[in-house]
């Protein structure tokens, strides 16, 4: 239904006047939905495939997995700059989606070779790194700046639906075809191709005049964006908050320990977070448009703090389960898309992609670093101390950002 309302750039303007979400955003949402089904299908079964299907050691799996995060971070900034320099955001995003789609077939072809698998997974991650920033820049350029929060909310909600359905589809297939990992990869490939087709057919590129000189859009110019006071502040605070946000696994682990949840239900906990995120992404986006995106972003971290406090003992039983998952979901609804909506208007159109890539990379590296730190603290001082440290650090950072983290615009 919504996809049908996708239209050319001209009628997008009509959409803005009527206060509707731009067709381009809905189209990008649909692309993300099917692509997320595809990628989450693979994510869900990949460890099983490597260890049970191919007989890799779980330790080797850890090495392959570590390869992922590094690749994404580097490629993201590079892809963002290219998209800006050529003013071809749709093309760069499309290449990203295409590479990831091809990688799904590569998984089948690589069979038992560790080297080939490593390359295929790196290609898959490269595709993901390439597409994220141009996609968010397209959302930002296609939407009315006043309702950017809502636009990102709509996109992230659609994206989360895909993340919801992917693992279910994968395990259903694996149940139907015992040991049929190749079937999962092939069906995932079909979804990925559909994503590329939808992108090609319904997403309109937002091309701005070519930059006067190539030096106007370069890696250097991308980093030069940090000279803008507000954007620099957003980046710095996002990194600081990223550093004190420990991984989601920890939230579920604590919940399980506290409530003694039967193992067969443990895997359902993330669905609680995703469900809340899914329902609240749009309302929180609207709230952000009205009361300030930065405020909502900070409020999201307060919500995360609430979740941590509940987890370390402020609540128990069903109350703990419901409130902590709700607070965790609210954190996502208030931060993920909202941060992009907050940064979007601060970036000049010709450097939109580069700036977003920079911000996302900074945040991702900070989160990666924090999960390593948290793991080290756990090993050195035990779980109790590590959790207390994480809680104190988050409280301090949230307080600091609330007091000093004012963004003028």
């Amino acid at each position: 239904m919504y996809i049908a309302s996708a239209r050319s750039g001209l009628s997008d303007m009509d959409g803005r006047k009527q206060g509707r979400v731009a067709g381009n955003v809905l189209a990008l949402g649909a692309v993300s939905l099917v692509t997320d089904i595809s990628s989450e299908m693979v994510t869900a079964v990949l460890p099983l495939y490597l260890v049970l299907g191919l007989g890799f050691s779980p330790l080797q799996f850890g090495v392959l997995d570590g390869l992922y995060s590094g690749v994404t971070a580097i490629v993201r900034v590079f892809g963002g700059t290219l998209a800006d320099r050529w003013q071809r955001r749709k093309l760069v995003a499309g290449v990203g989606y295409g590479v990831s789609a091809a990688a799904k077939l590569g998984l089948i072809a690589a069979a038992g070779s560790a080297t080939a698998l490593g390359l295929v997974l790196a290609a898959d991650r490269t595709g993901k790194g390439l597409r994220t920033a141009p996609r968010d820049a397209l959302i930002s350029l296609s939407s009315n700046p006043d309702t950017l929060g809502r636009a990102f909310g709509v996109h992230r909600a659609m994206d989360t639906v895909g993340a919801f359905l992917g693992p279910l589809a994968a395990f259903l297939l694996l149940w139907t075809v015992a040991g049929g990992y190749d079937t999962v990869f092939f069906v995932s490939f079909c979804f990925a191709v559909l994503g590329v087709v939808l992108l090609g057919l319904f997403v309109t590129d937002q091309r701005r005049p070519m930059p006067a000189s190539s030096s106007a859009v370069s890696l250097r110019a991308a980093f030069g964006l940090l000279r803008d006071k507000d954007f620099r502040r957003i980046c710095c605070w996002a990194v600081v908050l990223g550093l004190v946000t420990v991984g989601d696994a920890f939230v579920y682990l604590l919940l399980q320990k506290r409530l003694d949840i039967a193992p067969e239900y443990f895997a359902i906990l993330p669905l609680g977070t995703a469900g809340v995120y899914l329902l609240l992404a749009v309302p929180m986006g609207r709230l952000a448009d009205r009361f300030g995106r930065w405020r909502v972003f900070v409020a999201g971290h307060v919500s995360l703090l609430v979740a941590y406090v509940l987890l370390v003992g402020a609540a128990d039983g069903v109350l703990l389960l419901v409130t902590s998952l709700a607070a965790h979901g609210i954190f996502y609804a208030c931060t993920d898309g909202v941060l992009m909506a907050a940064a979007g208007p601060l970036l000049p159109a010709e450097l939109k992609t580069s700036g977003m890539a920079l911000l996302q990379t900074g945040q991702a590296l900070a989160k990666l670093f924090s999960s390593v730190l948290f793991g080290a603290a756990w090993t050195l001082w035990g779980m109790g101390t590590a959790v207390t440290l994480a809680l104190v650090a988050l409280a301090a950072a949230t307080l600091a950002v609330a007091l000093f983290g004012r963004i003028a615009r």
Binding site: S57, G112, D248
Partner: protein
């Protein structure tokens, strides 16, 4: 616009058709939908009984309707005709006339059941588990049961998180530990804390108190010796996975990672617990299994065969001789 919508619908239909065709074809390849292989001899006259001595019990992996069922052959003539039961398991173990069957259970997320069966394979108790079945074992008198499942898809935002879940059940006290990850672990003299601790492959001693297992943490695997009564585990050495205690309790069969790259990097070894010396078995192919001891001198394990199934092999525990094919089209061996 109409053209684009039509084009989108058409590609969707085409892709859905491709996906469905592939899936249906793959379903048709399922081993239990194949014609039974006539070369696999079946003894339809006898039932699988766990209290009958001298039998090798295993999971039948021959293509055909009986794929995945628990079966048995005579230990004296393992390549001879097999008796097949109606019980389907992914992993099976037998001790003192009782069995432990680990089987996948239907559901939107991978889940499994551990089913305890009596000598006639009748269910006496079941425990619901999360994850994909991987290992199952009983102590020599059948009192202590242990199993491992692989769990994935735990989180939606942390790609590729992956863990094992190992449970222990004390059948005498009817006490269940669904996840032993919390057991105090000592590496050297230091108490070790970490968020990445994973256990797998437990084997219990005759006294139902001492056990051995593999633990992975910080990118290394350790062989640990555990004590059920005092509830702690101590690392003995590195790189020894899926231990299996010999009948005399003095040796451990285990798989050692001998290659750092590529799939199937294992070599089966036997560790002398008194001297801590290891002996590689004559089997040079990669054994990815928790082996079993058929007697004091023979270790049995399964290996994938060239036709997409697996066979049960045996090798002398002292590293001499050569591996011998015991049961074609079999997996998860155990002896009565």
């Amino acid at each position: 616009m109409t053209k684009r919508i039509l084009l989108a619908l058409l590609t969707t239909l085409l892709l859905a058709g491709a996906a469905i065709t592939y899936t249906v074809h793959a379903m048709g390849e399922r081993p239990d939908r194949q014609q039974a292989d006539a070369s696999v001899l079946v003894d339809r006259s006898g039932a699988v009984r766990l209290d009958e001595p001298g039998r090798l019990v295993f999971r039948n992996t021959a293509p055909g309707p009986d794929h995945g069922k628990v079966a048995s052959v005579s230990l004296a003539d393992p390549t001879g005709p097999r008796r097949i039961s109606g019980l389907s398991c992914d992993r099976f173990y037998v001790s003192a006339g009782a069995g432990l069957c680990l089987a996948s259970a239907p559901g939107p997320l991978p889940s499994a059941v551990a089913v305890f069966v009596d000598k006639d394979l009748r269910e006496v108790r079941r425990v619901e588990l999360a994850g994909v079945p991987n290992r199952a074992k009983l102590s020599p008198d059948g009192t202590m049961a242990s199993w491992t499942t692989f769990v994935t898809g735990d989180t939606y935002t942390q790609p590729g998180t992956f863990s094992t879940r190992t449970g222990i059940m004390d059948r005498a006290q009817d006490q269940l530990y669904s996840n032993i990850e919390g057991i105090p672990l000592f590496l050297g003299s230091e108490r070790h804390h970490a968020e990445d601790i994973n256990y797998w492959g437990v084997t219990f001693a005759q006294d139902n108190k001492h056990f051995y297992a593999t633990v992975a943490t910080g990118g290394r695997t350790h062989l640990v010796s555990g004590d059920y009564d005092t509830w702690d585990a101590r690392a003995l050495r590195e790189n020894a996975e899926c231990p299996s205690l010999s009948p005399d309790g003095k040796r451990l069969a285990f798989k050692k990672r001998v290659s750092t790259d590529g799939a199937r990097p294992w070599r089966e070894h036997v560790l002398d617990l008194a001297t801590m010396t290891e002996t590689p078995l004559a089997e040079t192919r990669s054994v990815d299994d928790q082996a079993v001891w058929l007697d004091a001198r023979t270790v049995a394990y399964s290996l994938p065969n060239e036709r997409g199934g697996s066979d049960v092999w045996g090798a002398p525990a002292d590293g001499s001789g050569a591996p011998r094919l015991l049961v074609p089209w079999g997996a998860s061996p155990a002896s009565t």
